[in-house]
Symmetry: C2
Subunit: 384 residues, 2 copies
């Protein structure tokens, strides 16, 4: 008798919802490297390192899930090398849950030339211009070599405003999702299908139903935060999440700002990731409740207060704005480290607060206040 | 009755020698921010930060003394700002002993144009070309604003091979040392006079006697490791240290390599500082017992061993050479942080070992072995 391939070990990836507040959910997603309490924000460690931070820094800010990029690690140092050295967790010494994307987004956003066909994508390395090819099977093989707890089906991210192309890319994403599921050989990785469809409600509904039917242990929503308006993002989520199974975690890829996290949770999202906190840190910008701060601003030269008096991160508990500004002006790299710690902690702390509010039933009523408090971090700097 | 200005509080800066091994000494130098166990190596935090490291990293590697640069902090963020924010310890959150140099070396090495007269030096900022002037009185005023535990007399560092100039610079250094002592108003800082005189034995002897007679609570030896040969450095130390008082700490400025530390201790030096460990880290080079390692070397791509299996630093206890090489190749800043931790810990650990050997009376007999083990870190990279 031939037993059908199960794709993943159901008992290894249980998702339990422990509280609900309208659409917002608080839950526990168990993985081989520990339980994720959701909703959760994942720092991005593109090249097997969250830029400028040690794993100790990440534990200090209570990071639970770290994302790393399949495209980057395939090119450098190579997924087979990572596999031979014991996998990504051991390589970068991060022993909590990890997630890898499929490389689908990067072959479109980073490679200067690419050729897409129904079988896969041929692209050039952004490092040395060499030619490479990703297919769903190849993406899964790389992700199995890397060994993250959560892996992604190979997908095509289209221009959200081009409906004809969005339909083609969505269909291809669906075929590739089926092939990704079929290609999986490891049972200790949760493979998520990805909903695409641009900002067209009918395409998104079709895609949500198709991906839900694949019965993967979690579902990702891709192709957002790529140029569409906030309203389009919200409308898309409003179409998609009601069509997804209640009992599986939902991951909104590459999002976002504090405002996006609040709005995403309110629409039933459980997992987020974004490079924004660390990227802002490299540009001297700090999340703060009253609006994003440009820490190089001369007004901070003698400011003895911390970046954010309400923050419990190492940077805020230890250093003044004056010192951090000095490091920035003097071009000292420690500035980027301290601001990365602060910005990541700000989002992780926001998620901790949101989880408390969902548990005590007050999240829904607090959304306006949360948006009022955090909303302007997305769009403008504080006038100082 | 007029009481003569004492210059410093003797009871605050006691130096006790606890063990001797021929010329090598183990001692305790007490400062307002704690006791220094000597011989000691001080990491350099030029701009009020040891590059890429947090104070927690420095505590983890058992750093006890940190040096910062008067010239840099005067220009940026300004010594008055540091004073107004509570001084350098508070500004950079390093609450163990600190040392500032006088700025004398930097106005010669960093400023493109300078004009020296008997009163002081007029120089241009290496940052913006603006004109500034240091005198002994100005240097002491800046160092009092910064507030380090150990401060330096203003000195002139000459070309060691030019005897005529060395004599002029030495005389000026002596006048400036007298003026520096007179200019001091704080009693909680130990002001060290600086012995100069190039590599001329007669000048060095004259300078050692002159500076010793000033009765400062410690004595620095400047103008070495600036282009002279190793033999010239050793011969100079052999002339100078026997002329210095036994009961005061001796600081060899800007030195050095592991080899230099061993040779310096053997000649009676108690305090060292050098940018080498952190500078090498930025150039991917790691101290190791069998010779310096270029961590970018392709041979490390799959090397699962730590940088140095005998090292107890965070980098060596946590990561493989393969991972550190990956970070370097991928241009990730964490590489510099990890190599800085390792290289600084290597020198601090070497000093810890040396202190044990002095205490147990074996240092003198171990010098050949120590030099054999550490000597080639100075001059060549390991063949791999």
């Amino acid at each position: 008798m031939c037993v059908a391939w199960q794709g993943y070990n159901h008992s290894m990836f249980q998702f339990s919802i422990t509280a609900k507040n309208n659409h917002a959910r608080r839950g526990i997603f168990s993985t081989p490297h520990g339980d994720l309490i959701t909703p959760v924000f994942a720092p991005v460690g593109t090249q097997a390192t969250v830029k400028t931070l040690t794993p100790e820094h990440l534990k200090d800010i209570n990071a639970s899930l770290v994302l790393s990029n399949t495209y980057h690690l395939y090119l450098r140092p190579g997924d087979e090398l990572v596999r031979d050295l014991g996998g990504l967790h051991k390589f970068m010494q991060w022993h909590r849950p990890m997630l890898t994307d499929s490389g689908g987004f990067q072959v479109f956003s980073l490679s200067k030339t690419r050729k897409i066909d129904d079988d896969g994508v041929t692209f050039k390395s952004h490092i040395d211009g060499s030619t490479h090819r990703f297919t769903p099977e190849k993406s899964i093989a790389i992700q199995e070599n890397l060994g993250a707890d959560i892996i992604m089906a190979f997908d095509e991210c289209s221009d959200p405003t081009n409906k004809a192309y969005s339909a083609i890319a969505m269909d291809r994403t669906h075929r590739w999702a089926e092939r990704s599921v079929k290609a999986q050989t490891r049972t200790d990785q949760a493979l998520f299908g990805i909903v695409q469809g641009g900002v067209q409600a009918d395409l998104r509904a079709t895609s949500a139903r198709f991906i839900a039917a694949l019965d993967t242990p979690g579902i990702a929503i891709g192709g957002l935060s790529v140029g569409e308006t906030k309203q389009e993002m919200h409308e898309t989520l409003d179409v998609v999440t009601p069509l997804l199974p209640e009992n599986k975690p939902r991951y909104l890829m590459g999002v976002g700002t504090p405002e996006d996290l609040i709005n995403g949770v309110a629409r039933g999202i459980d997992i987020f990731d974004c490079v924004l906190p660390t990227r802002l840190a490299r540009h001297h910008s700090a999340f703060a409740p009253d609006g994003r701060l440009n820490m190089m601003n001369a007004s901070f030269a003698r400011d003895e207060s911390p970046i954010d008096a309400t923050c419990d991160c190492y940077a805020c508990k230890t250093f003044t704005r004056a010192y951090i500004r000095h490091l920035i002006v003097a071009k000292e790299l420690l500035a980027g480290t301290l601001l990365s710690i602060h910005n990541l902690r700000a989002l992780i702390r926001l998620m901790e607060q949101i989880r408390v509010y969902i548990a005590d039933g007050t999240f829904e009523s607090r959304v306006p206040d949360l948006l009022e408090r955090w909303g302007n971090n997305a769009t403008r700097k504080k006038a100082v």
